[in-house]
């Protein structure tokens, strides 16, 4: 029942976002144009950098902390959309306990998404359109595999972006979130294969090192390249 309430709320929010899309888009255009102008001046040569596409999509401008926060907001949107869908109709093979914990994770990711939306306020990018066509939501194997991929990637994304954050409070906030994502990752990995909670050898493609006991860490361009298959909205990255 709570889940239905959430779904309705989500739909309402999406609707209101669409209604407000004109204002949001013009803000993005304004921000994008000025950033492109700066990049052009700075480069001193227009061959070095193309103009970002202003016609569609979301622009992540990494020139300051808002870019990093919007990047996190984009990833949290993706995760929340995935878990909302799973929690609304979990695979039949899920146990009662697994259904309950996927509900928990759903609300964690929704809370992260809404937190960034509120914290970024007018600087927030719009809602992303997701593409989950590669996931079979009736199959526990498919859902768990996708959940693991999202969580491990999310951890690597926060770990890799932390060094870009200039404001103490934002850095701590990213830290507060990433450890929760790591707890999710470990839980989901243990469902797939008990004991794989921190199988760092399996995470080397995300920058992990088992010899040094280090988790993944990836730069935003690499993260977005991997996440891209789940996102329809064009994401423009500038000043990375």
């Amino acid at each position: 029942m709570k889940n239905n309430e959430l779904k309705i709320k989500d739909e309402l929010q999406e609707e209101s976002l669409f209604n407000g899309s004109l204002g949001r888009r013009s803000f993005l255009q304004y921000a994008g144009v000025s950033a492109a102008g700066m990049a052009l001046v700075a480069a001193g040569c227009k061959k070095d950098r193309g103009y970002p596409d202003m016609n569609a999509g979301a622009t992540l401008d990494f020139k300051d902390d808002f870019g990093v926060l919007n990047y996190a907001y984009a990833l949290e949107q993706l995760e929340a959309a995935f878990y909302v869908k799973v929690a609304a109709a979990p695979p039949a093979a899920f146990t009662t306990a697994q259904k309950a914990y996927f509900q928990d994770i759903q609300f964690h990711e929704v809370a992260h998404r809404e937190f960034f939306k509120n914290a970024l306020s007018t600087a927030a990018i719009g809602s992303l359109e997701v593409d989950f066509s590669s996931i079979d939501f009736t199959s526990a194997t498919s859902v768990l595999g996708a959940a693991m991929a999202f969580e491990d990637l999310g951890v690597a994304a926060y770990n890799g972006a932390g060094v870009r954050i200039k404001t103490d409070a934002y850095l701590v906030l990213a830290g507060k979130i990433v450890s929760v994502e790591a707890r999710h990752a470990a839980y989901i990995r243990d469902i797939i294969s008990n004991g794989s909670f921190a199988d760092l050898n399996s995470l080397t493609a995300l920058g992990a090192s088992n010899a040094n006991g280090l988790d993944g860490a990836l730069t935003p361009d690499k993260v977005l390249a991997i996440a891209g298959k789940y996102i329809k909205t064009k994401i423009n990255v500038i000043n990375l």
Partner: protein, 285 residues
């Protein structure tokens, strides 16, 4: 951006900046010649590279202190698990998945010790040996090496403290490449904590893989009052002035969910107090 202003700012805290830079004129030359080719956005990176050349591998004092603090905690964690695996005949960790998990965690803690020692080089603190520790915490956990459940409860205390401790040091490392490494350790500790919580749950404890709201709204969700200090302030549901409970009409985000979805940092003094419970007199932090 004016490089002269930057150098003057640095001179205020390091009077020898010009001496440091002048024998390394090639570093400055590299920087200026690069300026024509790169975008302004990349300038801080080039500048950082120049200062690395000028300062060599010297880490700022505050960073050294933080890394040594982390090293102390990693020594404690390593000895805690290692002793359980190699020298605690009265402790039975079930073979199979539980023994494999504790071994994995021990190996990670040892890797962290070695990594931090390597990064610190000659600035590394002296070694903490098992003999310097007291994992009964003066008798509070008297059966820690003979009762598997007690062993798991104290292990969870270490892991959740570790997660909070690294988070608490993040701002000291801000903008430094070392921060990325610290974050990579931090999330591994969170994975450990999640798994040990699942091990406790498998043995009958009512506990989630994430830090939830304790009974009656208290911050400690483990049901082990002896570790209250580990969870002090974990029941926060306001982040950066934003109330998370019920955020934007999402009633599914209960107070418990709001507490679960953000882990809280712990300041140095609080972590030291916890760590010192497990160190013998004469070896406390």
């Amino acid at each position: 951006m004016n490089i002269v202003n930057i150098l003057e700012e640095i001179e205020k805290v390091d009077g020898e900046i010009y001496e440091r830079l002048s024998p390394r004129r090639s570093a400055m030359k590299d920087f200026y010649s690069m300026g024509k080719k790169i975008a302004l956005a990349a300038a801080p990176l080039a500048l950082g590279s120049m200062f690395n050349k000028a300062y060599g591998q010297t880490l700022p004092t505050a960073v050294v202190a933080t890394l040594n603090f982390a090293l102390s905690l990693e020594y404690l964690e390593y000895h805690y698990y290692n002793h359980a695996l190699v020298a605690a005949p009265t402790l039975t960790i079930p073979t199979g998945a539980p023994l494999a998990a504790i071994t994995t965690i021990r190996d990670h803690e040892l890797a962290h010790v070695n990594l931090l020692k390597g990064a610190l080089g000659t600035s590394a603190r002296s070694e903490i040996t098992y003999a310097m520790t007291d994992f009964t915490a003066g008798g509070t956990f008297g059966d820690v090496y003979s009762n598997y459940l007690t062993f798991l409860k104290v292990a969870l205390g270490f892991e959740d403290t570790g997660v909070r401790a690294y988070k608490g040091q993040a701002t000291v490392l801000k903008g430094n490449a070392v921060l990325t490494t610290a974050l990579q350790i931090h999330s591994v500790e969170a994975r450990h904590a999640s798994h040990i919580r699942q091990m406790l749950a498998a043995n009958g404890a009512s506990i989630k893989p994430w830090v939830s709201l304790g009974a009656g709204g208290i911050s400690n969700d483990t049901g082990v009052p002896q570790v209250d200090a580990v969870y002090a302030g974990e029941n926060l549901d306001v982040q950066a002035g934003v109330t998370i409970t019920g955020i934007n009409g999402n009633t599914g985000v209960t107070k418990a969910a709001a507490v679960e979805c953000f882990d809280e940092p712990l300041d140095t003094a609080s972590v030291v107090t916890i760590a010192n419970l497990f160190l013998r007199t004469g070896f406390k932090l």
